[in-house]
Symmetry: D2
Subunit: 355 residues, 4 copies
C-alpha cells in the first residue's frame, strides 16, 4: 500500500501561489495537491493547463474549496490582505495552515490568527518564513547553537531587491506595510531565531531615503531603509533593506559572537561560473528572491507536510512570526516619525522621558 | 486525465542505484518508477522499505524485470562490468536506456552498445554523463556557444575526490579501468562537448604518481594523474585527477578562449556560509560528487524522461561517450607505458617514428 | 645637485610613532628625517639604535625639537591628549604639520587647531586619516566620482579590531573618547569623503553592547557599537565597530548608489594564499590595522611631503577632520544617553520636540 | 655615523631596468645607487632627469661603469642576450651580481656564469627569480616546509599574460627562447623550490597552440603552452603559459600534498574593491607582472643588498636557476619535436627505446 499523502489545497495562484502549487505537485512526495483556489480568471486558465490534468480540482470560491472532500491542509498564498481571514476560516474548518508571510500588515489582525490557532492545538499553523528553511541559514544556525562563535551579540541582516524600473513597488507600497514590514521582516524573523525568540525589545529606531522613487513618500515608505533594534539581553540587531540593487537579489546576514563571526551569503553567487573578461572577473547573482530561495520553499512545503502527517513540531512558531511583525511595524513607525521608540523590560512601550 | 508518465525501471540499487531510484520516484514528475532490479539481498531489503510501498515491483532477475508489463525504459546503475550486457538486452527488448557511465571500461564492448542502439533508432539510449546536466556547466557552455570567449583553445579540467582513508579505491581500481577512465572520463567528455565532438585526437600523453596508495600500482593505477590531449584542430585539453583531496570533492574546469576565459567551480562552495575564526575565514566544500552534482542527476532523469515521452533529441550522443572512453583508455595506456601516443588526421593510431 | 628634501621631525616614537619615523627614513624619498622627539627613555633607546645612525637628532623636549635648525615640518604621533597642543606649537613655529588622528577627543580643542592653522595659510596642516590614502579606497572614490554607481545614497562602514584578550582597550578607553571616536571616526571621515564634505547632519543615533568587556561601561564605552547618521541631503551613513573580531582586522565599506554598489574589503585577504584542509578552504586576514593599511601610511607620508615641497593642495581638509570628530562625539553621546540627537538644516542641534 | 650602504650600479635602463634603478634609489635603504649604464640615448635622457640629480653617475659603456670607484655590486637588467657576458665581466671585476632572469636562453652559456661565480666564492651572484621574493609564495613555502600539506606530490603553475594586441611578443619570440623559457621558467623555478632543488627529472613533454598569433610558428613558438615534468622522486609538475588572457596577468600555483593543498593566487585581485553592477559582481586583476609582483622586486633588491653587506646566504641558488633553464629548454624542444624526452636516474638524457 502506498504511504498516505497529505491532502492539501493551494489558495492563490499568482506569482508565488503558482510556484507553491507546482512545488506541492511535483516536489513534495508526501503531499497530494487536491484542490486550488483563485478568483482570477487568468490564473484559472493557467491552472486548467498545469494543475487540472494532474487531478487538482479548481475553485473560484475559497469557502467552497475548504469543503473539498478529505481536505486536510491549506497553503495560503493569496494577497496579504486576505491572509488572516482565510487562515482563520481554514483553522475553523479544522485544516492545517501554511500561510505566506506576513499574516497581516496589522499586528492585531495577525494576533487574531494566533488566537484562532491556539483554540485548535491539534492543528499545524505556520507562517512561511522561507529563510528558516534555507540550507545555509540552517547550517549557520547549527553553528551558533553548537557554540561555534561563542555568545551572539550583534546581528546584521539585509534584504535587498534588484531595482525594478517599472516602478511596480510604488503601487505595491500602498498595501505592503512598508519596507521594514515587507522586506526586513525576514531579517527580523532571523534575528529572533538567532538571538533567541524570547529576546525582549528595548528600543527601535529607523531611517530611510527615497533614492530612486520619490513617489514612495506618499505611501509613507522609502526605497532604502536602515534600522536598529536593541534587546534587553544586551544584544543588537541592525538591518538594511533596499529596492535598488543593480546586480540582483542580495539578502545577507552576519552574526557576530564573542568567539567568531558567521556570514550567510556575504558573497552571493548564482552559479559556479566565473567569467574572465577584458573588464575583469565577473560573476552573476540571483535576479530575485526566488532565484535565491527556491530550494527553501521546497523544504518548507516538505517539512510542513511531514509535521502535519507525523504530528511533529513545526519548525517556526506562529507567535514568533507575530513578534517579527510587531518589530517591523515599530521600525516603520520610527522611520515615519523620526523618533526612537522605547520599551520596558517586559516589552511595554514607554516614553523617552521615562528613561 | 492525468498526463502519461514514462514507465521506467531501475537496475541496480547500490549507492548510485538507490539515489537514481529515489530521484525517479520523487523528483521526476513525468516518470513512474514501476520496477527495480537488484541481485543483492541487502538492497532488496532497502527497496521493500523505500520503494515497494510506492508501488514499485522488485526483481532479483534482470531478464524478468525487462518483461515487466508496460515497461518502456530502464535506468542501468549496476556494476560497470554489467552495464553493456544489460544495456544491449534492454535495447533488444525495445526499451529506452539511460546507462550510468561508463558503458564499459573496454572500448570494443562500449562500441557494441552503440551498434545495438543504432539498430533501434526509435529508442533513446544515453550514457549518463551527469556533468552535462549541471546548471553551471550548461551556463558555461551557453557562454562559449554564444562566442563570449572567442574561439576556445585550451581546456583544463579536473576530477578530484576527497581522500578515502579506508583504501576503498585500491580494491575498486581492479575494475575501474584506472583513474583516467574512472575519473577523468568526465573531464574528457566535457572537453569533447566544449571543444567540439568532431575534434580528432592528435596525441595523448599521461603520467601519474601513487602518493598515498602504493598498492594501486599492482592494478596499473595511480592516485594522482596528469594528462594532455592534443587535437588536430589546434586545441588542447589537459586533465588532472586525484584521490587525495583534503577538503572534499573539487571538480573544476576552465575554458580558455581567444577573447576570454570561463571557469566552472574554481571556487568550490558547499553553502553560502563563511566562518570567521581565530585561524581565518573558512568555508566548506562538498564532501563528494553527490554533494556537488545531485541536482544534475535530477535534471538528467527529467530530461531523459522527456526525450523518451516526447521523442526529442537526447542531450548526450552515445557515440561521444564511447569517444570519451577511447581517450580515457589511451591516457591510461600512456600512463603505464610512459609513452606518448600519436594519431593521424583521421584518428588512426600511428607510431612516433612516422612523425 | 640632489633634489631638495623636506626637513621633517617625528614627535612620538611609540608604536605608531616608530612606524612613522621609519617610513620617513626609508620610504619617503623626498623627505629627510632630521629630528625625533620622545619623552620615553625606552623609545629613546630604540631611536639611538634605529634612527641616530642615519643622522636623526634625538630630543626629549618637544619645544627644543621645534628649534632644530632648518626644520620645516613635524609629524605628530604622540598620545592623543598631546596632539592639539603640539600641533598648535608647531604651527606657531611655522612648521607644516601632519598630525595622527584624532586632533583631540574634544571638538573645541580640535577646532582650536583649525583656527591656528587658518592664521597661517601658507602652512600645510593635515590630520592623518590613513584610509584616504589607501589604494582601494581611492579606486572606489574614483569610481563614485566618475558616476559609476549613480548617486550614492547609503554608506555603510565598519572598523573591527581583532579581540585583544589582554584587556588593553579597557584601560585605553579612558582616554580614547570611546569606540565611535576612536574606531568609527575613520568610517565617518570616509562617509564625508564619499557622500560630500558639505553634507549637513540631520540626526545621529547609536547603541552598543559590552559583549566581552563589561568593565568598559565605567568609561562610558562599549566593545560593539552601531550607529546611524542621517544627512539633510537625503543620504544615510551607518556604522559598526567592534573590538572582538576573531579572525583579525576587518575594516570594510560599501557605498550604495542609484546605479550600483561598491565594496571595499568585503572579502578581506592577508595574502594570495588559500589553504585546502580537511576542515575546508581557509585564508587569513590582516591581524591589525597596520597589516591592512601600512602602504596607506607610506602614501600619506609621501603625499604630505610633496604638498609641503611643491605647495600643492593637501588631500584631506582639516575642517573635515573636525567635522568627523563632531559626528563621532555625537554618536558616543547618543550611545550613552540612549537618545537620538537632531540638527536643523544648518547643522544646529535641536530638540526632538521641535520636529 | 650613518650605516654603510652597498655601492651598486644598474646595467640597463629599459622597462625593467628603470624600475630596478628606482627601486635601488628609493626603496632599498641599505643600497646606494652610484652608477647606471645604458647604450640607449633615450634611456640616458630619462636617467639624466630621474637618476643623475640624486648623484647617480651615468655610463654608456658597460666596462667603464665596472670601473666606477668603490663599486661593489651590479644589477644586470639589459637584454637577455647580454646577461651572461656582463655577469661574467662583473664577476671577474670582483663585483656582486644580481642578474635578471634568465641568465641566457642557452644552457651552456648560463652554466658558464655559474662556473665563473664558483671561481669567486666570496661574491654573491644571483639570478633574479622574482616570485621567490613574493610574500604569498613565501607564505605558501613556509606552510609546505612546516608539513602543513604533508608530502607535496603534484605541482601546477601557470604564467599567463594579458593579450597584447600589438603583436609585440611575436617579434620578442625571436630572442625569448620560447614560451616555456620566457614564461614558464618562473613556474619551473618554483617547482624546484617547492618540490626540492635536488629533484631529478625523469621525463619532459610539452605541447602548444598558436591561438591568436600564427606568426609565432616561424620562431618555433606558441601563444599557449602546456607541459608536464615528471621527477624520479615520484613528483609531478605541470605547467600552462598563455599570451592571451583577457582580464590581465594571472600567474598562479597550486601545490597538492598528501594532507592538503595550497593555492597561490587562485583568486587574483588587483585591489580590495568589488563592483556590483547590472551585469553582476566584478573585480579587476593586475594588468601585468609588474602590477602583480612589484613588491617582490623591492624585497629582492633589499635581500640581495643585505646578503652582500652581511655576507649571508643568498635566497636563490645560481645552479638552481640553470636547472630551471635546462627544463624550460627541454619543454620547448618537446613542443617543437612533438616528442617526449626521457632522462635516467642521474639526469642523463636517454632514448625512449631504452625504457
Amino acid at each position: 500500500m502506498a504511504p498516505r499523502r497529505l491532502q492539501i489545497a493551494c489558495a492563490g495562484l499568482g506569482r508565488m501561489g503558482a510556484r507553491h502549487a507546482l512545488n506541492l505537485l511535483n516536489k513534495t512526495p508526501r503531499a497530494q495537491l487536491v484542490a486550488a483556489f483563485t478568483p482570477e480568471p487568468s490564473e484559472i486558465e493557467w491552472a486548467r493547463r498545469e494543475l487540472e490534468p494532474s487531478g487538482v480540482k479548481l475553485y473560484t470560491d475559497y469557502d467552497e474549496m475548504l469543503k473539498h472532500p478529505g481536505l486536510e491542509a491549506v497553503l495560503i498564498a493569496t494577497v496579504t490582505t486576505a491572509h488572516a481571514e482565510e487562515a482563520i476560516k481554514a483553522i475553523e474548518a479544522d485544516k492545517h495552515v501554511l500561510c505566506e508571510k506576513p499574516l497581516s500588515t496589522n499586528v492585531d489582525i495577525a494576533q487574531s490568527v494566533v488566537d484562532a490557532a491556539s483554540r485548535k492545538p491539534h492543528l499545524k499553523v505556520m507562517c512561511g518564513f522561507s529563510r528558516r528553511f534555507d540550507a545555509s541559514y540552517r547550517e549557520a544556525h547549527d553553528h551558533v547553537t553548537s557554540g561555534a562563535i561563542g555568545r551572539p551579540a550583534v546581528f546584521r541582516s539585509q534584504t535587498c531587491d534588484r531595482l525594478d524600473p517599472s516602478g511596480f513597488f510604488v503601487a505595491y507600497a500602498e498595501f505592503s506595510g512598508g519596507i521594514f514590514v515587507d522586506c526586513n521582516i525576514h531579517d527580523i524573523d532571523l534575528a529572533l531565531w538567532f538571538l533567541g525568540e524570547d529576546s525582549v525589545v528595548k528600543s527601535v529606531v529607523a531611517t530611510g531615503v527615497c533614492a530612486v522613487q520619490p513617489e514612495l513618500r506618499k505611501h509613507k515608505d522609502v526605497d532604502n531603509g536602515v534600522g536598529i533594534v536593541e534587546f534587553w539581553n544586551g544584544k543588537i540587531a541592525y538591518f538594511f533593506s533596499s529596492r535598488m540593487m543593480a546586480a540582483g537579489q542580495h539578502d545577507m546576514t552576519e552574526i557576530v559572537g564573542t568567539n567568531g563571526k558567521l556570514t550567510v551569503n556575504a558573497n552571493p553567487v548564482d552559479s559556479l561560473v566565473e567569467m574572465h573578461e577584458t573588464t575583469g572577473i565577473r560573476r552573476t547573482i540571483p535576479p530575485d528572491y526566488w532565484g535565491r530561495f527556491q530550494n527553501a520553499f521546497v523544504t518548507e512545503a516538505n517539512e510542513f507536510t511531514a509535521a502535519c502527517l507525523d504530528n511533529t513540531k513545526l519548525p517556526v512558531r506562529l507567535s514568533s512570526s507575530v513578534q517579527a511583525l510587531r518589530i517591523g511595524c515599530a521600525l516603520q513607525e520610527s522611520l515615519n516619525t523620526g523618533k526612537k521608540i522605547y520599551y520596558d523590560e517586559v516589552g511595554r512601550r514607554i516614553e523617552a522621558a521615562k528613561l
